[in-house]
Amino acid sequence: MKLHHLSIAQLRMMLLKKQISKKEVFKYFQSRIQKLNPTVNAILTETEETETMDDVTLPLYGIPFSMKDTYLTKGIRTTAGSRILKDYIPQYDATVYTKLKNSGAILIGKSNCDAWGHGSSTENSDFGPVKNPWNNAYVAGGSSGGSAASVISGMSMFDIGEDTGGSIRLPSSFCSTVGLKVSYGLTSRYGCIAYASSLDTVGPIGKSVEDVAIILEIIAGNDLLDATSVRHKIPKYTRTLRDKKNGLVIGLPKEYFKNSLTPSVAKKIQETIAVYKEMGIAFKEVSLSLTDYAIAAYYLLATSEASSNLARYDSVRFGNDRSVFGEEAKRRMMLGAFTLSAGYYDAYYIKATKIRSLIKQEFDTVFKEVDLLLAPTSPTPAFKLGEKINDPLQMYLSDIFTIPTNIAGIPALSVPCGLSEDTKLPVGFQLLGPAFSEELILQTAYRYENAVGGFLKFNAA
């Protein structure tokens, strides 16, 4: 039986009915890793079966999951994809890990990623790139490439990624997983190795909308250790998942459908729109005129914060000195240092924060007209390994459709919508909503998933 094709609910039911034991499930996914990981390179560290709570009523009892290697796991090596931390064994657990453990889930591995979350293809990992499970010559997207690849290829039931500029959604669209970038602050960042603190978000990657809703319900909410985490009550996402909002209006931001969008992706997006129209959902063209400026603002803000967040890595506590930083980290630290340096701060850093204000305002205005926005997650399907690695600026532009949401702090869910006609690689669309509208986003994605009869299953291997 292909356990990795089951949903979380289905696997949980089997465990509840004792049709399979926790141990057997863990072994099964371990053997998936042993079989597939040597090619895909999605998992950096495999974990032994750990002591978990033996309470079958727990919502994730016995469910094996992977986590981006940017989350601290006490006693289990955590590298952030960088050689600086290649031997680092953490002293504490990230809040998200604690929450999942307390829900009965079992960590099976730590997922490969671009070092420090810096990248769009996972080629910046110091431990080798992740290969797209659908075609190993292509990238899995980044920076949470290992996360999406491990979930789609069935090495884990779900994964916790981290999205600063598209790092959950881009790999989700390249690998055909459902990936949620939450509203800034919905989930605790405590214990998540920071890339750019004002943009970082902690979110789930799963095979279905329902799986993502289940995980979100567990990981969302206030954390006293993260002063930027939400203070309001979290909705029961799974309970309202099947609700249908009346009179839903979805906006199509015209800037996302310009010539930078490749025809194969455009076609898939149009098919998606058609599916929604069939349900009677209204569409409206809207404009987000600042979309083109988001990347420039992002690379000033994110690198400023990255140069600051990476300042702590020294040989005093972690053993490896700063010369071990990879090329991308050096590039971003230097750009960030420049942005914040005496004499340039106003013209670069402050300017970028002002653009951020304007981008936020523009989203606010648009969300007065429409409930949600629908857009491609990426202008292209997965690109070839090595294709953009020597041109950082081109690589940065891969995130053109995902970055504005991080700048504005709003949620976005990347949903698979089939394979591109030419390369036969997955394509994803994203649903964007106002801050803390995850409930409506999940409901709307769930309607699509049902209408198309579920998402593609990865059948190779």
Partner: protein
Amino acid sequence: MTREHKQLSKKDIEYLAGLVKINLSESEISKLQLQLNDILTYVEKLNEITTDTIQGTSHTVTFDTVLGADDPKKAQCIKDLKGLHITPGKKAYFSVSKMLAP
């Protein structure tokens, strides 16, 4: 408000590398100079937008004043520093090669 189109010199690159405490080889300096100047040219487009009267957003959170009570019972002290580079022996110190005291 306009400003000159900033391009980084080799000396600038060395200065920035010093700020973030990394050593660069000659070839890295040249490469980074090109790449960073490329990026700086790209971000010039932000100047197309007038922002004189706009208040910047540094914090994305929508709420403020989140403070912790002065309560040592909430401490998260680490009992075992294993996994970090500490000196052997009863007293756990970190160590750094000797330098002049400030």
